[in-house]
């Protein structure tokens, strides 16, 4: 059958992925710590119909071959780690990272995951956990009878709290943040969590605020970095590209119809 049918179909599939990415970005326009995705495309392999350099006549060679492309593929969906804007929440367990880095989370299966979503909770044992109940590492364990409103986290990650009967706040923990040589290589696993991969490199633990690490901003949350206008423009582009490819399929179909009509 016509090659162009499949070529155009690959274009439509590619644009579907593009729309999927955009839809996911838009759906997460209000998700804490969400980082937008970008779909990148590359052309597919080329089929050689005639090789360059084969003899055309006894004394001449064919200088240019005939190569027909087979369409397009999604090469990568890349996370864009731009800083999201910070929103004041006044919640004592909320922390935002301003700058580079991730919090480390201990999942139920015992492996580490990383997140920029600092909407934490304090559980019944005084432990700092995520909204899903995963422990924040290094562990932040608050004393039993702490005064909730006195909890304070410095930009450098020092957690202090007051307990009744003592005038001075006591230091209970040091929050660390983790960075990767190539954060784009992290794998998103949902629930605002990322896990390292071979491409991202190993996590490097750091104190917040030093050596270019992000600072912790207590009682703030980092908003999603999705920009609605940009996504809308991308959506228009993707939809029109989808439409164009569908026209190529229609044309191929008409051509096949014409060919079929040869036989009356």
């Amino acid at each position: 059958m016509l090659r162009s049918l499949w070529t155009a179909a690959s274009g439509m599939i590619g644009q579907q992925y593009h729309i999927d990415t955009i839809a996911n970005n838009l759906a997460n326009v209000n998700t804490t710590g969400f980082k937008k995705n970008r779909a990148d495309f590359e052309d597919l392999i080329y089929q050689t119909i005639r090789t360059a350099g084969t003899p055309a006549t006894e004394i001449t060679l064919v200088p240019v071959g005939i190569q027909v492309g087979h369409g397009v593929k999604v090469a990568a969906t890349q996370k864009i780690y731009e800083q999201g804007s910070l929103q004041n929440t006044n919640n004592v367990a909320d922390i935002a990272i301003a700058g580079e880095g991730f919090f480390r989370i201990l999942q139920y299966n015992g492996t580490y995951a990383y997140t920029r979503d600092g909407a934490f909770q304090i559980d019944s044992t005084g432990q700092l956990v995520t909204a899903n109940g995963y422990k924040v590492l290094p562990e932040v364990k608050l004393p039993k009878d702490f005064i909730r409103e006195s909890l304070s986290i410095s930009q450098e990650g020092v957690v202090t709290v007051k307990i009744p009967g003592l005038d001075d706040p006591i230091e209970v923990a040091q929050i660390e943040i983790y960075r990767f040589p190539n954060p784009v290589g992290l794998q998103a696993i949902g629930q605002n969590l990322f896990i390292p991969s071979n491409a991202s490199g190993e996590a490097i633990a750091n104190r917040p605020g030093y050596n270019g690490n992000g600072k912790l901003i207590h009682r703030f949350l980092e908003m999603s970095n999705v920009q609605a206008v940009q996504e809308m423009v991308n959506m228009i582009v993707a939809q029109r590209a989808y439409e164009m490819n569908s026209k190529a399929i229609q044309t191929s179909d008409t051509m096949l119809g014409i060919a079929n009509n040869l036989k009356r």
């Binding site: 070529t7 360059a52 240019v64 190569q67 090469a75 270019g212 190529a248 044309t251």
Partner: protein
């Protein structure tokens, strides 16, 4: 049998090939650094038609004596025998620039290609959507290292700047310790040093470069070997930009309509040849 049928058939087949090219262009309407293809047709060799058994002389005789002659040419003329696809020609027009959020994105403004090292040899690309691998080497999306003039380019996120000449600068304060990662805000560029320059190449005849897929091109014996581009031809390198595809959707749509209609007219030719044959069989040769 009837020549016109095969001629029109060759037209339909060639147009199918052109449609394949158009579909590929449209599929890559959003592919960074893609250059559109144009399919070029050639006419089949022409036939010289000549009447059979005719020497071309008409002589006049009076009582078996030749008194004169006129020259009536036995040559009828030439006849085309159709069309074939001759070449797929890549048009290296500049694509438009799209601003991006990634510092690893670079675009070329002007002629030339980035050099990429693959396990199969050196390849060339205009798709500047790069990344780094865990050790900090600049790679393409397939993970092939992008070459500078001195080999691999080893950089860190937020610690490199590309100027318009394609020179890569790093801040030497942060280059020593691999564990030391850098943030955008803290980098004061106090010890800016020249690291390397993108190896941008050109070939004698870019027309004969061969597309490999994954936005890569390969040199062929007709394109000539890749050489580092002359200083005066060197393209501008734009950081945080990507070069869009140079496919013009309007042109492709118009060409698609053209293909469609040409295909249809070729079909009509076959149909009328068919019709005349059937008339011949039904009416003239009725016994």
């Amino acid at each position: 049998m009837i020549r016109g049928m095969y001629t029109a058939g060759s037209g339909m087949m060639a147009l199918q090939h052109r449609m394949d090219t158009i579909a590929n262009n449209l599929a890559n309407v959003d592919t960074s650094g893609y250059k559109y293809d144009d399919s070029i047709f050639k006419a089949f060799p022409e036939l010289l038609l000549r009447r059979m058994g005719d020497d071309g002389m008409l002589s006049f005789f009076v009582r078996q004596r030749k008194i004169g002659s006129i020259d009536k040419t036995p040559v009828i003329g030439t006849l085309g025998t159709g069309v074939a696809q001759n070449e797929v020609f890549t048009v290296f027009e500049q694509g438009e620039f799209k601003q991006t959020d990634s510092h690893f994105d670079v675009a070329l403004a002007g002629k030339g290609f980035f050099t990429v090292e693959t396990p199969y040899g050196l390849r060339y690309t205009r798709n500047g959507s790069f990344h780094i691998d865990p050790s900090g080497i600049l790679v393409t999306k397939e993970g092939y290292p992008v070459l500078g003039e001195n080999g691999y380019v080893k950089i860190k996120k937020n610690n490199f700047i590309v100027d318009e000449d394609g020179k890569i600068f790093v801040n030497n304060e942060y280059t020593k310790d691999p564990q030391r990662l850098v943030a955008m805000e803290e980098n004061q560029w106090k010890q800016t040093v020249f690291l390397d320059r993108f190896r941008i190449i050109q070939v004698e005849e870019p027309r004969y470069l061969r597309k490999q897929g994954s936005s890569l091109w390969k040199v062929t014996e007709h394109s000539g070997p890749a050489r580092v581009i002359n200083e005066q031809e060197r393209p501008k390198v734009l950081q945080r930009f990507l070069e869009g595809s140079n496919v013009n959707p309007v042109t492709e749509m118009v060409r698609m309509i053209e293909v469609n209609r040409n295909y249809e007219s070729n079909q009509k030719v076959i149909q009328s040849e068919d019709q005349s044959t059937s008339q011949l069989l039904e009416r003239v040769l009725r016994v």
